[in-house]
Amino acid sequence: MTAYQQPLPPAAELEDSVLLQMYYQMLRARRLDERMWVLHRQGKVAFHISGIGQEGTQIGAAFALRKGYDWVYPYYRDISLVLTLGMTPRMLMLGLFGKKEAVSSGGRQMPEHFSYRPSKLVTISSPVGTQIAQAPGTAFASKIKGSDEVTVVCFGEGTTSQGDFHEGLNWASIHKLPVIFLCQNNQYAISEPMSVEMAVKSVADRAKGYNMVGVKVDGNDVLAVYDVMREAVARARKGEGPTLVEGFTYRPVPHSSDDDDRTYRSREEVESWKKKDPILRFEKLLYERKLLDDAKKTEIEAGIMDEVNDATDYAMRAPYPAAEECLYPVYGPLP
């Protein structure tokens, strides 16, 4: 796929090639993610946490950013986001297996704990929410340096209950920092529905407590997310302050490979949301616009499966780190 140049126009004016790139990114992330589930079911890997269903929100956001220029604090479901911003299927597969060559952490962290400095994807941890208090600092540094970099930080709706969320949004709004808080609201925090996580009906409502712009958008509509993010990014870049964006979506798979979601939600609910799948939806649009047909789709799928197979094979063959590597790096050189 050829590269595109930022800034891009609003969704209605996007070139066909860009729309097709969006589609490709969504589909590639989906197929890679599915393969990861398969590898888990085959007992080949120990753990997987998935981004399936959230590709609409993530790809919409990714295309609104200047790749490698803007800072991104991803979260563990951001497979399609990090792939779009420069990580490769091999990198992610290496991480899944905990292989030495895995760029995120060289096998130190669990899978899907993304980090990739060339893409300014900042290292994340498992305790949820910590990144929300950090991102404003990164945005503040951009401001101090006089750079128009924007910082995006991702998290789920359950995570908005953490103190870190409150304190991060407070900082960002006080200093009008160029940071976008992207909440991927998949309606569950593991087993807990929104009703036991918060009293507001929409995460975007939380922005009001900070005098911040809060926008709720259909997270399964990649172009709608793109437009909302595009505006938020433009505002941030111009120094007009932060935005809380809520991409409303669904997680059609269990929380992680350790979860059994039948204990807390009905199969009917899951099936009904599967019909609203962001990829199906976008595919329909592309068919309607005649950008895609069955032949073209088969071709794209084939290319993607090659990538997925390559990544899988590569990662499976790649060596583990040596045991003693675990001892480093704890500290850098002292002055």
Partner: protein
């Protein structure tokens, strides 16, 4: 007597104690319909309903904060922290608040609560699902820290904790949950807080441990036993405050000590144990006090070879024992 796993013993104790005492409630993430990510609260929601089995928002600070407020108003809450790694957002509420309520109010208020937290590595959890957090809390006056290693002790200690008028941090090694099984009496019994257990008698040296490592230590004692080294093994059970008497009595008998834990070496439990012995059992010592522990790195890595390197195990402990025995 029934044979149970540790997770079963914990589950059953919560259930029975909640039936016995209506002031006990439980709160935490996914403990309701889901029954907890380790199933420690399975079925409780159905029996006790959402007023006693409370799915908390995703916020550890307020799981503990709310628990404190409940304890102030006559309840005895059990607060579940899903993984011990996630207890730090609540550090202020535990250390500055729960542990000091009795003291700072000169006894007018108390804070009876049990904080349950699955801890420990060896399960592929990487940096943030494997931590041993006991040392941070074994430094806090006003807080009890317990870490059972058997179903019997898990039940007896949890029951005691739920009848104790002060905050208790109850650490459950998640790798032992289903791995370790044992007999549990059907009748009511308590295991006292503050008492260690000499689980194996021996003459040549003493190994002091707890949690998963206690089991690795017992295996190691078995191995070296066949080589003629007689090892006494102490299961601390209560990590704070430590049972000095049992520790010092064993040192008086064997004159050599090794401490074993999974938490990193520096500032770990082995330090306090060593210091007690070096001060109060010095004259009984015939050899340096050895500590064997996880390396001083920021967590247990995910990748299998690195995780294996990190985790102490029976073979490595056996080597440490041989070494010390030969001193």
């Amino acid at each position: 007597m029934t044979v149970k796993s540790i997770i079963e013993a914990i589950h059953d104790t919560i259930l029975e104690e909640m039936r016995r005492d209506p002031t006990i409630i439980i709160t935490g993430e996914d403990i309701g319909k889901r029954g907890g990510v380790f199933r420690a609260t399975q079925g409780l929601y159905d029996e006790f309903g959402p007023m006693r089995v409370i799915d908390s928002p995703l916020s550890e600070l307020s799981i503990i904060g709310t628990g404190i407020g409940m304890a102030i108003n006559g309840l005895h809450p059990i607060c579940e922290i899903q993984f011990a790694d996630f207890i730090f957002p609540a550090f202020n509420q535990i250390v500055n608040e729960a542990a000091r309520i009795r003291y700072r109010s000169n006894g007018a208020y108390t804070c009876p609560m049990v904080i349950r937290a699955p801890y420990g590595g060896g399960i592929g959890g990487g940096l943030y699902h494997s931590q041993s957090v006991e040392a941070y809390f074994a430094h806090v006056p006003g807080l009890y820290v317990l870490a059972p290693s058997t179903p019997y002790d898990a039940k007896g200690l949890l029951r005691t904790a739920l009848r104790t008028p002060d905050p208790v941090l109850f650490l459950e090694h998640k790798k032992t949950y289903r791995l370790v099984k044992g007999e549990v009496p059907d009748e009511d019994y308590l295991v006292p807080i503050g008492k260690a257990n000499v689980v194996r008698a021996g003459d040549d040296l003493t190994v002091i441990s707890y949690g998963l490592m206690l089991h690795e230590t017992l295996k190691a004692a078995e191995i070296v036993g066949r080589e003629g080294i007689s090892v006494e093994v102490i299961d601390l059970r209560t990590l704070h405050p430590l049972d000095k008497e049992t520790i010092l009595a064993s040192v008086a008998k064997t004159s050599k000590v090794l401490t074993v834990h999974e938490d990193n070496l520096t500032g770990g439990l082995g330090a306090e144990i060593s210091a007690i012995i070096a001060s109060e059992g010095f004259e009984d010592l015939d050899a340096p006090i050895r500590r064997y522990a996880g390396p001083d790195i920021p967590g247990v890595p995910f990748s299998p070879p690195m995780q294996d390197f990190f985790m102490p195990n029976a073979a490595k402990i056996a080597n440490q024992i041989r070494d010390l025995a030969a001193y």
